[in-house]
Amino acid sequence: MTGSLNLWLIPLVPFAGFLVNGLIGRKLPKAFVSAIALIATIIPFAQVVKIWFQFSGLTLPYLENHGTWIWTGNFNANFTLALDQLSMVMLLIVTGVGFLIHIYSVGYMAHEEGYWRFFAYLNLFMFFMLTLVLSENFLLMFVGWEGVGLASYLLIGFYFLKDSAVKAGMKAFVVNRIGDFGFLIALFLLVAHFGTLSFGAIFSAVAQHPEWQGGFLTAVALFLVLGATGKSAQIPLYVWLPDAMEGPTPVSALIHAATMVTAGVYMVARTHPIFERSPLALSTVAFIGAITCFFAATMGLVQTDIKRVLAYSTVSQLGYMFLGCGVAAYSAGIFHLVTHAFFKALLFLAAGSVIHSLGGEQDMRVMGGLRKKIPITFWTMTMAVFAICGFPPFAGFFSKDEILYQAFIWPHGGKILWFIGWVTAGLTSFYMFRLWYLTFLGESRAQTHELAEQGAAVHARSDSKLVVEAEHTHGVHESPWVMLGPLVILAILSVIGGFIGVPAAMGRHDEIGHFLEPVLGSVPHAAGESSGLELGLSAAAVAIGLLGLLVVHFMYKVKPELPGKLATQFRGLYSLLLNKYWVDEIYGAVIVTPLLLFSRYILKALFDRGVIDGAGFAAGMTAQGFGAIVQRVQSGNIRSYAGWLAVGAAVLLIAVYFGFTSHFPPQ
C-alpha cells in the first residue's frame, strides 16, 4: 500500500466546515451554508469509501502519527490516528449516516432561524465523533468523548429561547460529565499502571501478562463502564436522553440514535482486552445492559410523544448492545450498533417527517390516519418498525438474535439475561407497533389547535411564543424529496443491512463477525455448533414479536377503548410508567437538592463568605490598622524625620558592626 491514507482529513474537513459556518455563516445565504455543510460531510464519506476499497491491501492496525502532544519524562501522548476493522465499521456508519442526516436537515431546518448555527454545530459534532473513532490513544479519544458531549449540549439547547430545551441541554451535559468523571478516573489508573494511554501499548502489555486478572484491571473496567453509562444512556445515567428530545429531530437521529450514544459501546468493544480480565466488570456490563433494556422498554409503553417513545427505545436498544458486549460477544454488539444506526436513524427521521407534515405536532394522541396522506414516510417507517422488532429478514432480526443467543449460552447467569432480553423484545414490538398504529393507521384524530399547540415543536424565533408553523395549516402534505431521499436510503439499508451478519446456523458466514475478528476476538462459541438452539431461540424471539403485534392490533384496532380502560384500572402501574418511575424526581430529591442546599448554605454562606471573604477582609483590616499606626510617623515635620533617620542610622551601624566584625577581630 503506497501513499498515506490521509486519515487526518476525515475529522478535519468537518471541523473546517464548522469554522466557516460558525464564523461567517450568519451572513451567508442558506444555500451556501447547506453547501458548505454538505461538502464538509461528503468529503470524509468519500474518503472513507475510498479507504474501504483499499482496505484489503492495508497492514492493520494502520497508524498515522501527527506529532507529539504531551511529552514529559514518564508519560507521552501523541496525536495518533489509527485505523483497523472496528474503526472502519464505525467510520462508515458515522460518515454515511451522518451525511444522510445532513441532507435531511437541509429540508427539515429550512425554515429555522439559526440555520447556520445548526449546521456549524452538526459539523462540529462530526469532527469530534470522528476524532473519537479514529484516535489511537485514550487521551485523544477523551477529547472526542468530551467534544461530542459539548456538541450534544449545543444541539439539544438549539432552541435556546425555550426554557425546557436549555434545561435539557444542561442536564445532558451534567449527566455526561458524571460519566466522564468515571472515564477520567479510569484514565488516571491506566497512566498509573501502564505509564501510557496508547491502545497499542496498553493492550500488548495486558496480553503479555496473562497473570493480571481482576484487581486494578477491574477497577479500570468499572470506571470505564461508568463513563460508558453516561455517554450511552444506561442505568444509572440514562436520564438525559429522553429530555434530549427537546432538540431538533435530526439531532435526535444523528446524535442520540446513531452515533454519540454508541460511543460507549464502541469504547467497551475497543477496550475489551481489559474487560476480558475482569469477569466482574463484564457481568456488570451485561446486567446493566439487560436491566436498562427492560426498564426503558416499560417506560416506552405509555409515552404519548412520538419522539419520547423513540428515545426510550434507543435506551433499550443500547441496553441490547451493552448486553452483547457484556457476554463477550463484542462483534454482536457492534453488529447491532450498525443495524440500530440504520433503523433508529430512519425512525427518528421519519418521525421528523411526520412532525414536519403535521406542522409541528408531536403528540400521538392527535395523530392517526396518515397512511394515505404521507405514503412514503409511512412505508419507510414501516420498514424501520419491522427491523427494530426483529422480524426476518430485516436488519434487526439478525443482530438482536445474535445477541440473545450469545446471552443464552453465557455461563454466568446467561439464561436470566436471555429471558430479560426476550421479554424486552416483546415489549419493543408492543410499543413500536403501538406507535405505528397511533400515528399512521385508524382515523385522523387531529382536532383543535389547543392540543396541537401543547405538543408543537417550538422554533427558535426571536419572540419566544409557541407558534405553530402558519404555512402548514393548509393540510397534511408529504415532506420534500430532500427529506424523503435519506429515508428511502435508510429503509433499504434497514432491509438488507442484516445480511452482513447472518450466522452459519442460517446458512451464511457471519461476515461482520469474521471481519471484526482480528480486533474483537472470536465469539466464544464456534459458529454452527448448536445451530438448533440458535434457530429455536430466533423463532422464540420472532414469536414474542408477533405476540406484541397481535396485542397492539387487539388493543388499538379491535377494541380501541381497551387502552383507556386498562389505564384507569391499573392506575398505579400506569402512572408509575408514565412518570418514568419518578427517577428524575428521586434523583432530584436525593442527589440534586442536597447538593444544592449544601452549596448554597454551607459552601456559599459559610466558606465563601465567612472563611474566604473573611480572611481577605481580616487581612485588609489588619493592613489598614497597621498602616494607621505607621501613618503617625508621616507628620510632615522634617525634624521628626531627621530624628527617625538618626535612630535608623545608629541601628544600622550597630547591626553591621556587631554583626559582621566577628570576621575582623580588633587587635
Partner: protein
Amino acid sequence: MHLVLFFIFGGLCVAGALNLLFQRHPINAALSLIVVMSSLAVLYLLLGAEFLAAAQVIVYSGAIMVLFTFVIMLLNAGREDRTHGSKAAYLVGIPGAAALFATLVYIFLSYRTPLGDAGLGNYLVTTTDLSKVLFRDLLLPFEVTSVLILVAVLGAVVLARKEH
C-alpha cells in the same frame, strides 16, 4: 609640632561646630561654619592632601558658604525662636545621635592600634597623582559630574526665578 597643630585646628573645628549649634541667628551660624571649613582645610594639609585643602577653601568656604550668606541676606532671615515643634525629634533623635556618636567612637577606639600614626609627609598626594586618576581611570564619572553641575545650575536658575 604636628600634634600641636592638630589640637589647635581641631579645637577650632569643634568650637565652630558648637557655635553653629548654639547660635540663634543664621548668619552667625554661617560664619562659624566658615571657620570650621577653613580649619578643616588645614587638617587636610596635615594629612597630605594639598589639592583638597585648596579645593576646600576655594569651593566650600569661598563659594558655598558665600552662597549661604547671600541667601541669608536675601531672605532676611532673623533670629529664630526656640520652640518645640516636634516631639519625635527630641525623644527619638537625640538618643539616636548619641548612640551614633558612641558607636563610632567605640569602633574607632577599638581599631586605634592597627591604624597607626599619620606622620607629616608620610603620604603626600600631589595634584599630578590626583589628576592621573581623575582623567584616566575615572574619566567618565568626572565628565558626569560636569553634567551634574550643569543640571544643578539650570535647576537653581529655574527654581529661584521670579514668577511673572
